[in-house]
Symmetry: C2
Subunit: 661 residues, 2 copies
């Protein structure tokens, strides 16, 4: 093939990406044509010249990662998936962009569409997750690569828009990546100076290059975003810098070729039939809609080279297994996310009636017990390791240039931490844990939601779980956070009542592979209650029964002990009360009706107790019941005073029960 022909087919390929994208948006009469038109060349260069992937096996572990952070440009990636030969992404899918039952949702949805490395759309988070992806690669490489066996050795790419860069999480993610010297992370900024409302100059004046250099990044510039060679050169230069992540600012024109080129109007509305036609004319494109010219299909099909990449990697893995049999087994088990068969035996167990213990401290012990047998349990906290007890002792520190350590200093960057947690999980094999105070779940909520939507088993260790944290006061007391977390579909929220429930909760977190688990842990010591491992794993169980119970006291966390004390006080007054511990509503809800009825006997009145907002408890108490919870923010005082003042006392429980009987 002559140089010229190759040039032509390249340009034709870029324009095919563009026209498929605008045809898809037009067919849906909904979507974002502007970014695909502008960013098609850089996407083409990344995928065609650099990205190692296998369309026939999208999950191949050795692949490079690519995340379209500007997820609204989804047709761009769907077009790429089709053109490079992912069998699932048919032309029919492209024609049915944004329709029920196709692989082409409005924004790229991991788990819905094969070939994506992350769900994107909520701005800032795609790129932030690539920091976790790149950390994951470095961690597994440091841990498992051996001389001559670079089994974990891939680049991570992301394309970002101006909006991605304005989001706060971009600061957290970029600062972390620069600090950690993630040299194999490459971000391409689709620098078109236009955002939805306006030209960016009305909303920002930052010198993005200077900002990234301040974080320790290398910053390169591509003056002409349509110049494939210039883009290729920049990426090649970025790859040679092993000590710094690289931001490539690629100057583009939003809606390139369309009548709305360079304006906000190109961002988020279909171009219209005439606009599409004009754009195609401007691009010199003369085919019917949704056409892939034969030479483009031949040129971009990556199934051959993709299989080649994977075959070579598989061969390397086989040799690795031969040379390092023990390690090979560990890697295979790790990638399969196998759990030790004797998980329950490994968990620490606490003597009933033994020394009272904060569940955060129990969690710390459990983490350290688990870390011994789960080599990729790793993570850290947002500068609260001493408080959240998330440190893996002897786990080493994950530091710039030294990546084998299992303890990450995420800094006071809750959102960036959780996004990195998603990336670590998405990378594969790793079991990330991230920690902060429960109240600061607010800061990371957008990433928690993406853990759920992507079905990633990230464990959130959220301590200081109620007004029971005491003196830090209302800003730090998470009265509203559990309703927030419990309303996220697919997430598990577990608030254990004591050290043993905490151990069971950790097992549940590791065993649940369809979404994140939030462990809600106390700052203060809690007594060790009668042990019922199986009960915890069903989400709720009877801790203490009473014959012909007239009332069921349902509680979680620190309030279970209060419920037990209250039941005793009630018994003295002739009222029979059953006590139910409900550490996890989501798991209990999934039990069969018979079990649920055996715990919450129908027609028995119920009082729920949790030192947090009442909202989640109405489901369980029903009509005629009562909830002892928080209607207001808390206050600053020692925990004992607060529990008393806000009604979490035996006296008030007894009074409340009598009030409904």
């Amino acid at each position: 093939m002559s140089e010229n022909t190759s040039q032509n087919v390249e340009q034709l390929s870029v324009n095919t990406i563009r026209t498929l994208s605008i045809d898809g948006v037009q067919a849906a009469n909904s979507g974002h044509p502007g970014a695909p038109l502008g960013a098609a060349p850089m996407t083409y260069v990344v995928w065609q010249k650099f990205l190692r992937f296998n369309p026939r096996h999208p999950e191949w572990m050795g692949r490079d990662r690519f995340v379209l952070s500007a997820g609204h440009a989804s047709m761009l990636i769907y077009s790429m998936l089709h053109l490079t030969g992912y069998p699932e992404m048919t032309l029919d899918d492209l024609k049915n962009f944004r329709q029920w039952g196709y692989h082409t949702p409005g924004h790229p949805e991991f788990f819905h569409t094969k070939g994506l490395d992350a769900t994107t759309g909520p701005l800032g988070q795609g790129a932030a997750m690539t920091v976790g992806l790149a950390m994951g690669e470095r961690f597994l490489a440091a841990k498992y690569n051996r001389e001559g066996f670079p089994i974990f050795d891939n680049y991570t790419y992301s394309i970002l828009g101006d909006g991605d860069l304005q989001e706060g999480v971009n600061h957290e993610a970029a600062a972390l990546a620069g600090h950690l010297k993630l040299g194999k992370l490459i971000w391409l900024h689709d620098d078109n100076s236009v955002q939805l409302d306006t030209a960016t100059f009305k909303a920002e004046s930052e010198d993005t290059a200077a900002r990234f250099r301040a974080y320790g990044w290398e910053v390169l510039r591509v003056q002409d975003g349509n110049n494939l060679q210039e883009i290729e050169n920049a990426i090649r230069q970025a790859q040679t810098n092993k000590d710094q992540p690289t931001l490539i600012q690629v100057k583009t024109v939003i809606g390139f070729g369309s009548p709305r080129a360079g304006t906000s109007k190109a961002h988020g509305e279909p171009l219209g039939e005439e606009g599409v036609a004009e754009t195609k004319r401007a691009l010199g494109w003369d085919y019917p809609p949704f056409t892939v010219p034969d030479e483009v299909r031949a040129h971009m099909d990556a199934t051959g080279r993709g299989q080649g990449y994977e075959d070579a990697w598989n061969k390397l893995m086989d040799e690795y297994r031969a040379a390092h049999p023990e390690l090979g087994k560990e890697v295979d088990a790790m990638l399969a996310r196998d759990l030790p068969a004797n998980l329950n035996e490994i968990l620490p167990s606490y003597e009933v009636g033994g020394k009272a213990m904060a569940t955060r401290n129990a969690s710390g012990e459990v983490i350290n017990a688990l870390a011994k047998v789960i080599p990729t349990l790793m993570g850290g906290s947002a500068d609260l390791s001493g408080s959240t007890k998330t440190t893996i002792k002897d786990g080493g520190e994950f530091l710039p240039g030294s990546y084998e350590g299992r303890n990450v200093y995420f800094g006071v960057r809750e959102f960036g931490m959780a996004a990195a947690g998603n990336g670590l999980s998405l990378y594969g094999g790793i079991r990330p844990l991230v920690g902060t105070f429960a109240v600061f779940a607010d800061y990371l909520k957008p990433a928690f939601r993406l853990s759920a939507i992507q079905m990633q088993p990230v464990t959130y260790v959220l301590t200081h779980d109620s007004i029971g944290l005491g003196e830090d006061g209302p800003t730090h007391q998470p009265v509203d956070q559990l309703a927030m977390l419990r309303s996220v579909p697919g997430a598990h929220v577990i608030r254990p009542a004591d050290a043993n429930e905490t151990a069971a909760a950790w097992a549940m977190a590791l065993e649940y592979d369809k979404g994140p688990t939030a462990l809600i842990l106390s700052r203060q010591d809690l007594p060790i209650l009668p042990r019922n491992h199986a009960g915890v794993k069903k989400g709720a169980y009877v801790v203490k029964d009473a014959e012909n119970a007239q009332v069921i006291l349902i509680a979680s966390g620190s309030e279970v002990a209060l419920a037990l004390d209250s039941a005793e006080a009630l018994a003295k007054e002739g009222v029979n009360a059953r006590v139910v511990s409900m550490p996890c509503m989501e798991v209990f809800r999934a039990q069969d009706q018979a079990y649920r009825d055996s715990v919450l006997t129908p027609n028995t009145k119920r009082v729920a107790i949790e030192a947090l907002a009442k909202m989640p408890w109405y489901e369980w108490v029903g009509s005629g019941g009562a909830i002892i919870g928080m209607d207001t923010f808390g206050a600053s005082a020692p925990a004992k005073v607060l529990f008393e003042k806000f009604g979490f006392s035996v006296e008030n429980v007894v009074k409340t029960v009598k009030g409904i009987l």
Copy 2:
């Protein structure tokens, strides 16, 4: 007083701030001694040399604003309030730091303690709110100052820790402030290179000065954070730069003078009796605990000069009122947050059965009607003004150096926007509105919570309110966000069913002055229903009654029309259904029992319908009822398809009702 004596009393004053702070922490046996020891000198200089305030009238409008963003250093500000003469802050309060019933909670709580300009503690947000405070000053100055009458003319100061700077919201806030050229905003970075877990070098390597310069800030450096003159010089220089906000990096030693100086250990634990004693020895301090030396009290008491500042300002205001009587009235009414008496007449009204209309569009019309009579209704969206319909037409643009415009381009900075909204509200007089998609309420939740905790009437315009947004798909469909917002104490969440309910909802938002209001608005058109302004204002009301109703259908937003259609279909099958619109649970909950029972007749079965997570509805349906809501994330398809697929159809409502009768 000789130079030397003055030096001595200054040093003595700084050390008094320090010792009061560590005495308070020690008495509580809980709190943060490190930051007050290190940051006392800069705090002293700001308050003693620059800050204009009146301890006898903390709310005086002409005051400079000061926000301790590192809120855990609360004893620092409590000590300042005591020493400068705020009558409420007694020595007894300092001695009872973090105890029930005193003015000294663990973190500074606006509305609890007079003399604070914001509630702080959740890192990053204090400084972020100062951007709003500074915007507010510029807005009111541009709008109301006249030649010779600089009635709005104050500086805004903040002290930040390393953690504040790591938070994502710091990027959003600093980028916005730099962009807007807020020259009277001065941040002092308590640059002690230590954070809770570690020396900062393990968690970050950013060049903060370079980052801020990239945003357009001036950056100054104080080499010795104990050198009062050096600090004073820097602040004076910052004040001369009218076109750029200034970051002053003040090099300090955390826990200065204590045995733990310069270490993480100094951050968040009391020093212990011996540590306190050692620290006092090192500081050359030889008094009993909680002592204020007479010369310090005389030197720092600001009541005289504070009253002088205010008297001068009051005189200026009187002259202003005389010179500009109309404006004077407007300013007085504005500062009192008066509403027009004929508010309800001003609101647009929509003909029942008239053209269907998206509630976001109705909101846009309402905003523009209100803007005509409420001159400080202002704000904007996080780069979604075209979608959220938040633009005030002819309101002008709030741009760098040109601050009279009422439309702010916040950029894709949801959290920074909401924090600025809090600051605008805290400044006084202004009625800020901020807008984004409802799903991105996740991004701004921490600030929404602070709106509530500070009781600030910020209006959140959150559009694209359910799966009804259609094609953008699950990442953009806010199934979990309403449970999140509704669980925040003191916040109102209103999801109007049509254009008329939207108008009433806006009136409710403006009339509610004890917290934020979130307006949850549809992307899609909704029919205009029978009008009941009074009903909406009670939170819930009967839209359509039926004799001897066998079931009550409760719905909000777009699902009210579905409930009405379903009631009709049920009637045909001989089932009498009452339809209740419940736009605002919080307001309905606050009605008396009689009204609540008149709407939700006790013992009538209930079915709630809302195309969002079910959690908030259990409270209203009780046992034996049913909820038609979302148990999963949504999907990408046209709205009609989604409503059908997820069960929001007349057919499914009828089936569900029959299932429970």
